[in-house]
């Protein structure tokens, strides 16, 4: 960009824009029960014992671990980072406590303050907002609100550990049925060492009366977070679930390798929304979370519907492909995504829609925003199997570039093995240029307003899929994450 000597620096909007501080980057000092670094069968046994798990689960973990030992990290994603030393990670860290909090009153006030600072509505605010929250701090779930009210509808919403204790038969029936232990390198690692997560079970015919939400927080140093989420909607049930994520600012990278499994039986609907704001690293690419996540939904029943909506603004590296297996006839899968990469962030994200049932439909709507030196990759697979008569897919994949140092890539793959399949793909790339900013500023808008107007316009179709209060949050988050991007 050319500079002007006679004009104020405020006239160089793209230069000043993307340097906003990460506001969730504080650390909470808590006494923690932490295992030494490293991974072995013994570590897994200790984790399992600490959680008083039934024998089947320990065996399941060990099986996963043995499988993992035979695997190598995937190399195909368009991201680059130094090799991870998996023996240099702490696999279990929990805030110290007696027996686990029975109610919010027993939760460490420091911890509540943390979630308060992050704007997680754990307390009365939860009641006002009508959102039931499960909060996962480092490796364990610290509080789940609204359990009683949900219980009256027969809905189970609790930490994964609690589900293992209280509903082992459900866990055993569904765990690993969507993402098997050996599915991929990070899923296998997660299966071996996962420490907590959320569990949701909505029984037949029940429409969950409120939004369910989990808030994930990585706090401790050198700790990996491996949570496991399992959501089951029985016949005719429906549920909307949202997860939010943050972490303190640290110079070293931290690993987050989660697995999420969704199961929808006949006529069930699951809507899963993510607002991911893990620490992205500083503007030179130091620190930040490696977010290597396996998310998959199984439309097991006829006419079932699984919908993924994600707003990905954080993490140094994002490697994530929330997918839907459309097994049931007439089932529907959606993927709506906004992925932002600023500074040195790398995002390789997308989805897989596997059409197996007849007349299955899927929609993919991906909005990638690259700014600074960010790199954003959309990777999509639409597979129509031979038996999937009348399957339809519509894919739209848009990229927005801010400045001229960033990159956007699109890798769509279509495998249609049934002649009746109807698959459409559209892609666009646009750039926020100096021209557009100058035009908007000449009409009296600030550079920030102009960029946020353009970015929000670009993302509108995805934001409208988010629950109302989170749509507002996502919009704000995007504004913050983009500050300093103009240059």
């Amino acid at each position: 960009m050319k500079t002007a000597t006679a004009t104020a620096p405020a006239n160089r909007p793209i230069t000043n824009f993307l340097d906003q501080e990460y506001s969730a980057g504080f650390e909470t000092l808590l006494e923690a029960d932490t295992l030494p670094k490293g991974l072995s069968e013994d570590v897994i046994r200790v984790i399992s014992a600490k959680k008083k798990e039934p024998e089947f689960l320990l065996e399941w973990r060990l099986e996963a671990y043995r499988h993992w030992l035979t695997m190598t990290p995937p190399k195909w994603a368009a991201v680059s980072f130094p090799e991870i030393d998996f023996q240099d990670i702490v696999y279990y860290s929990a805030p110290k406590k007696k027996d686990g909090p029975k109610s919010l009153d027993e939760v460490d006030p420091e911890l509540l303050k943390t979630f308060d600072k992050l704007g997680v509505p754990l307390h009365e605010r939860a009641r006002l907002a009508g959102v039931a929250v499960d909060a996962v701090f480092d490796s364990v779930s610290v509080a789940t609100t609204f359990q009683k009210e949900l219980g009256e509808h027969g809905i189970i919403f609790c930490s994964f550990s609690e589900a293992v204790q209280k509903h082992p038969e459900l866990v055993r029936k569904y765990l690993g049925t969507v993402v098997p232990q050996g599915d991929n390198f990070y899923a296998a690692l997660n299966s071996a060492v996962f420490s907590d997560g959320s569990f949701v079970f909505v029984p037949k015919g029940v429409k969950c009366p409120m939004e369910l939400s989990t808030y994930f927080r990585i706090n401790a140093r050198d700790t990996g977070q491996f949570e496991r989420t399992l959501i089951i909607a029985e016949e005719g049930a429906s549920v909307s679930y949202l997860e939010g994520c943050t972490a303190p600012m640290r110079d070293e990278n931290q690993l987050h390798a989660a697995v999420v499994e969704l199961i929808a039986l006949d006529d069930a609907k699951i809507k899963y929304s993510t607002v991911q704001n893990w620490y992205p690293g500083d503007k030179d690419g130091k620190g930040g979370i490696y977010n290597f996540v396996t998310k998959r939904g199984d439309c097991r029943g006829a006419r079932s519907h699984i919908s993924w909506t994600q707003v990905e603004t954080g993490s140094a590296i994002t490697w994530k492909y929330p997918s839907v297996i459309l097994r049931g006839d007439d089932s529907v899968g959606d993927f709506h995504s906004v992925a932002l990469s600023n500074h040195r962030q790398q995002a390789d994200t997308g989805t897989k829609m596997i059409h197996m049932g007849r007349n299955t439909r899927s929609t993919i709507l991906s909005k990638g925003i690259s700014a600074g030196h960010g790199s954003n990759t959309f990777r999509g697979l639409v597979r129509v199997s031979p038996k999937a008569e009348g399957a339809r897919n519509y894919t739209q994949c848009d990229s927005l570039l801010i400045g001229d140092q960033c990159a956007a890539h699109t890798f769509p793959t279509i495998e249609a093995r049934n002649p009746t399949a109807h698959v459409e793909h559209e892609a666009t790339t646009s750039r926020i240029g100096e021209d557009q900013l100058f035009y908007a500023m000449q009409r009296g808008l600030t550079a920030e307003d102009a960029v946020s107007m353009i970015v929000n316009g670009f993302c509108r179709e995805v934001f409208k899929e988010l629950p109302m209060e989170f749509a507002v949050e996502a919009q704000k988050l995007l504004g913050v994450s983009l500050e300093g991007s103009i240059g």
């Binding site: 000597t5 006679a6 004009t7 000449q442 009409r443 670009f458």
Partner: protein, 261 residues
């Protein structure tokens, strides 16, 4: 109201404006004419604050403020409006949203209450009628897929809504048919008032049949080489730009429109 003294500006090291003087009083309409490459559009962009142009000398005073020290949006809020020669497309942002944000930014600056959605729609629909724009343009993305004429109408619409104190029209007439030209002229004429000043940049005399200027200036090689009344424009029409040039510079007849910055 506007005093430009010895203004010099360059782009990518190439000098474009080489000591330009211009004095505009409130209530006046000034036409600036000149061949392509003479610096007409550069002048407009420098006044609006485009940073691709480097001001290397001179001064611009606007209502006792140092115009060149003001950020782009401050100039706009204080009432400087530039009708673009090539209006910019902003995909994904509706015209209605954009216009409302702009109008309210300016109103706020002037200490006026911001328009709510209803007030705004009433106002904008009335103005759209005046410039012959269909309502559907409110809900389309800013300038996206607009024809050349529609884009220019949209500029005139914005000008009317923002009620500028100093409006600069940068070849707004280029590429327009006679009907669209009349719409632009009508928009400008409606805006004429004792408090406002207008600078109309044009390649052709034609527009000045509809907008009668108080003064006409001829720009050549980054300087104003002749000033006069309306008759100067007619003279240019007759003789072309070849005969101007006080410093021995000789120019060919006008090129077709559209090639300037």
């Amino acid at each position: 109201m506007l005093d430009i003294n010895n203004l010099q500006a360059s782009v990518e090291g190439k000098s474009i404006l080489k000591g330009l003087d211009l004095h505009v009083k409130a209530g006046e309409v000034h036409a600036i004419m000149g061949p392509n490459g003479s610096g007409k559009s550069t002048l407009a962009q420098v006044l609006a604050g485009r940073d691709a142009f480097e001001v290397t000398g001179g001064s611009v005073t606007w209502d006792e403020h140092d115009l060149l020290a003001m950020p782009i949006e401050e100039r706009a809020r204080a009432g400087l409006f530039l009708a673009f020669q090539y209006p910019v497309e902003i995909p994904g942002v509706s015209n209605a949203y954009f216009l409302k944000a702009a109008v309210n930014a300016v109103r706020k600056h002037r200490g006026l209450p911001e328009f709510d959605a209803m007030d705004f729609l009433t106002r904008v629909k009335a103005e759209m009628k005046a410039v012959g724009m269909k309502e559907e343009f409110l809900y389309r993305a800013v300038n996206e897929g607009f024809s050349g004429g529609e884009k220019k109408r949209n500029e005139v619409l914005q000008m009317a809504l923002l009620e500028p104190r100093l409006a600069i029209l940068d070849e707004t007439d280029s590429g327009l048919d006679i009907d669209a030209l009349k719409v632009v002229a009508d928009g400008v004429n409606r805006l004429r008032s004792p408090e406002r000043a207008l600078i109309v940049i044009t390649h052709y005399q034609r527009l000045l049949d509809y907008i009668v200027p108080d003064q006409v200036h001829v720009l050549s090689h980054g300087r104003i080489v002749r000033s006069g009344g309306r008759e100067l424009a007619l003279e240019l029409e007759e003789k072309g730009y070849g005969w101007i040039g006080d410093s021995g510079e000789v120019h060919s007849a006008p090129e077709p429109a559209g090639g300037a910055q």
